[in-house]
């Protein structure tokens, strides 16, 4: 079903020039600054695309955002200042990793909660089973099943 990824991409292509993500002319001469820009770009969403970071996207908007991020970095902003600037401008939608807030508690809390809950259930079940006497034998076989076993044994010889 990966090709539907491509359909999603089609949407992207429709609104973008066939160019390629990060362009050589966008890149900063200072490698350290450029590396920071790349790292930040990976956490920022290209808002007209489906689930693509501005680092991967070919859309013109992604290009503008990449340039913007680099301008802020050149102006001396820290990483978090750049992020804050973009969130103030475009909202939380721009962040690919949503920050913990009241409406993302369920999102971030679910994996650990589920794991703890699972462990709890397993421990309780185990205690209860160990306390209970050994389970009774399974239900007796039906006549057809008995016949089937006899037939299997006859065919397979000594197993």
């Amino acid at each position: 079903m990966k090709y539907l990824h491509a359909f999603a991409l089609l949407i992207t292509l429709a609104c973008s020039s066939p160019a390629g993500a990060v362009q050589p002319d966008e890149m900063l001469p200072d490698p350290a600054l450029e590396a920071r820009a790349r790292a930040l770009s990976k956490d920022l969403r290209c808002m007209v695309c489906q689930n693509e970071s501005i680092d991967d996207s070919e859309a013109p908007l992604a290009h503008d955002l990449r340039v913007l991020v680099r301008e802020r970095l050149k102006a001396g902003d820290s990483d978090s200042q750049v992020m804050d600037f973009l969130v103030a401008r475009y909202g939380e939608f721009v962040l690919l990793k949503p920050p913990l807030s009241w409406h993302t508690v369920a999102l971030w809390g679910l994996p650990p909660a589920l794991l703890l809950f699972g462990f709890g259930v397993v421990i309780v079940q185990n205690r209860r089973q160990n306390a209970a006497p050994e389970a009774p034998e399974p239900a007796a076989l039906t006549a057809t099943e008995e016949a089937r076993i006899a037939e299997l044994l006859r065919h397979d010889g000594a197993l």
């Binding site: 079903m1 990966k2 939380e92 962040l95 409406h103 699972g118 389970a135 399974p138």
Partner: protein, 661 residues
Amino acid sequence: MIPELGHYALMLALGLALIQGTMPLVGMRTNDAVLMNVASPVALAQFVFVALSFAALAECYVTSDFSVLNVYENSNSAMPLIYRFSSLWGNHEGSMMLWVFILVFFGALVAVFGTNLPTALKANALAVQAWIAAAFYLFILITSNPFVRIAEAPLQGRDLNPILQDPGLAFHPPMLYLGYVGFSISFSFAIAALLEGRIDAAWARWVRPWVLGAWMCLTVGIAGGSYWAYYELGWGGFWFWDPVENASLMPWLAGTALLHSAVVMEKRGALKVWTILLAIVAFSLSLIGTFLVRSGVLTSVHAFATDPTRGIFILAILVVFIGGALSLYAWRAPLLRQGGLFAPISREGALVFNNLFLTTACATVFVGTLYPLALEALTGAKISVGPPFFNATFGPLFIPLMAVMPFGPLMGWKRGDLLGAAQRLLAAAMLACIAIAAAYAIEHRGPVLAPFGVGIAVFVMAGAATDVAERTMILRVPLRAAVRRAMGLPRSAWGTAFAHFGIGVTLLGIVSVTAWGSERIAEIKSGDTLDIGHYRLSFDGLFNRAGPNYRDVVGRFTVRRAGGELVGAMEPSRRTFPARNMATTEAALLTRGVSQLYLSLGDPNPDGSVPVRLYFKPNVVMIWLGAVFMFVGGGLSLSDRRLRVGAPRPARAKAVLQPAE
């Protein structure tokens, strides 16, 4: 004429599905074996009619019959035969045809190979299959008919989306669907067992081969899709945490959990209720995957609202099947008896641990994928949940799972010996430590924790080898005896070792590429060189090349080692498809061992320079190689005698000729 025949055959299949869905259930109520036995021949007939219908559509595609709307919109007579055929499933209507075709294929397999199943179980399972099939026939016939004609047939078709014109895409969707739809079998068996109210270890033995088969197909299907995305989308990523990918990963995670819990149920009669639930969940996730991808809900909640016919229909299918199955489960499951006591430190305990982490990982992907949709629908707030979220949550769940994995197979049933297992894994652990040290010594760049990733991967691989070594007692008994023991080892033991080894291989690939891959982005002119790792690429220039339905602008590069020794040539291109006026990037790959050089071209500038992206991807091939190991492991396990006896076996006469073992 042919499309009409195909259309009609599909309607007949719907009729047959309704018969197959009702008769056996009536038969079970009235205890009428004749009615119950109706299911098998009808399942076969249904398969024949759907095959006819599918063949009719394939014929339209292969012969480029543009009077059929679906063919006109998605095909082009200039395409090579393979893409004219594969464009059948490169669109919504056609892919639904493939879906039902595979569904009835599995139904027919159960009918043919399920000769040793209890009559009622088989009849009920086939009835449930028929209900799923009927729902999807209705969906196709009402909302997505691929046989619709155009009054004035156009001369040429609109072409298949160029990104999909690729051998990988000819093979990927069918494999993925085999996996998705394969889980329908375990689902049907689970429902049948709940209807009957009788579940025992034998149930797990019947169902496990189907789960294994589906899981194998899904594994290579996902890996194939990942490799396709890697080389076709032009920036060398192998996994994007795209909702569509997540839709296929969720059934895989649930299916992997099911595979393991079914072992416990088969061997020890424990975890019955849980296994049934997993069987329901695995297929439910497949259905949800279909819904997510098909309804347009992913693009945005609003796109779904503007054209909701298909979406609402699939949503109804989801509600009926998942809701119905879970209600039935809630009603009947408490009646099932749990069995099989075990200590927390035991093989069962390890498998429960595996299930706990796999299902949590699955739930994490599920919530991450659907949370933005739900939040927007409920509060209107728009947030994005992307790769950074999944990497942050999925990794911590998988690392403990991997670390514990080698212990599982070394534990005894009922009560395991943790210290003993740890002693036997000492060699593997030492190997892992050496790997960590080596990784620190060789690579100074990259994340500090990456060598530990390598360590875990090596531990998993060595752990799998330890399992086999322990069972064959190699190095402790003479080689000849060890070989004899190896031959006598159950194939399922080999299967486990292979599949677990594969996980380690994949992990090693992922860690290496993520931590130590290097990238060069540059604008170059003819004669320029680019250095990456130990390689130097020189750009020899651009030339044009014509394909059957596209034009290529090809860049020619010569690759040498830093010493000057010639390695080979790379020819990435920009490919333009006039039919849709679209361009794709055809990256060039140069494989050296299990590492690859990856080169893709941007659009050439007017001054003759070309933007290029060059990557060195260390150990990248291992990512997919691991999936091959898993597939082989699954196959070995599937061919285990225990399963052959318990499950599909066509020729009963052969059994007589089998030597006694």
